[in-house]
């Protein structure tokens, strides 16, 4: 059997549906052409960013992860697809790889397609720049965002260079967040290093409206508010085009 001859069968499909799928593949084989790009059924797409943001390392399977190698091309596809008018980003993340998180944030912030983010359970650590990267951001009233310094685990050689390096990495996050939200660089840094709020750690937890009051997120709201805002952004974008 040629291992390259595969046809796809979505999970849950019944065995008897196989020949139909096989036919499609047969036509792909004969015409040398795959089916045209999926037509967007809904003009608003969602991008859930859930669990750990996975970067250069494949994490053990017990982690729920959002993989940047999938998200980044999908963002390109969404930007390029004329049928997709708006993108809703739903965040419930505990953080993850800095480079991957910043890459996703930069992609989102440089998109022409209107984007709205909604922080649901939590948008912690590297989830913060992703939440503020969109055109408009929402946070559920019970959702939280943890802002804390970057930590190193394991053996850390305590030389000034180590500190400088971490400081530089932190600066990247602070700069991104302060340029894409109403919070100032100084205020965000202060939140990051505040003592007495987190158990055995420095940093701050912001819940719902606290994030809005500090200017990190634009508004407290849920799904209906986020979708209504996205629809209005799409409308005003289309008016500009006309």
């Amino acid at each position: 059997m040629d291992s390259n001859q595969f046809y796809f069968l979505a999970q849950g499909n019944k065995e008897k549906e196989m020949p139909e799928t096989a036919k499609t593949i047969e036509s792909i084989r004969q015409l040398g052409e795959s089916s045209p790009p999926t037509e967007a059924k809904n003009d608003i797409h969602i991008l859930p960013i859930i669990g750990q943001i996975e970067g250069h390392m494949v994490l053990p399977p017990k982690n729920k992860t959002t993989k940047y190698e999938h998200i980044i091309p999908q963002l390109v596809a969404i930007e390029e697809n004329p049928n997709i008018k708006g993108l809703l980003i739903i965040l419930n993340t505990v953080g993850g790889d800095i480079e991957a998180g910043l890459a996703i944030s930069e992609m989102i912030s440089s998109m022409n397609t209107p984007t709205v983010s909604l922080v649901l359970g939590g948008g912690h650590s590297i989830g913060v720049p992703i939440a503020v990267a969109t055109d408009y951001s929402f946070i559920a009233s019970t959702a939280s965002m943890t802002i804390h310094p970057i930590r190193l685990t394991g053996l850390v050689i305590g030389v000034p260079q180590t500190y400088d390096y971490l400081d530089k990495m932190q600066d990247r996050i602070i700069k991104f967040v302060s340029t894409h939200s109403r919070i100032s660089e100084e205020k965000f840094r202060e939140l990051m290093f505040r003592t007495g709020e987190l158990v055995r750690d420095v940093g701050t937890v912001l819940i719902g409206k606290e994030a809005v009051e500090l200017g990190l997120v634009d508004e407290v709201g849920g799904l209906n508010a986020a979708l209504a805002k996205l629809r209005s952004l799409v409308r005003s974008r289309e008016e500009v085009k006309q």
Partner: protein, 74 residues
């Protein structure tokens, strides 16, 4: 890897040494390659899409985690 997460790294990387996925590449159609993981005798789970056409990444049947079944051709 520099991780910025509320979870400690030792918790994220627990059992990391035991985790050795077996990947192989499958030519799916012109210009579209899939990186698949063995999930059964005649089954492969899509791990990654390799394509320069961005719309391939939005195809619902090719989303990572979907199962491909291998069949004989008649």
């Amino acid at each position: 890897m520099l991780n910025y997460s509320i979870y400690p790294l030792e918790m994220i990387l627990e059992d990391y040494d035991d985790f050795v996925p077996e990947y192989e590449e499958v030519n799916f159609s012109n210009g579209l390659t899939l990186l698949v993981e063995r999930s059964g005798k005649d089954e492969r789970k899509i791990a990654k899409i390799i394509s320069s056409d961005p719309q391939d990444y939005l195809r619902p049947e090719l989303q990572p985690g979907s199962i491909l079944k291998s069949v004989f051709y008649y």
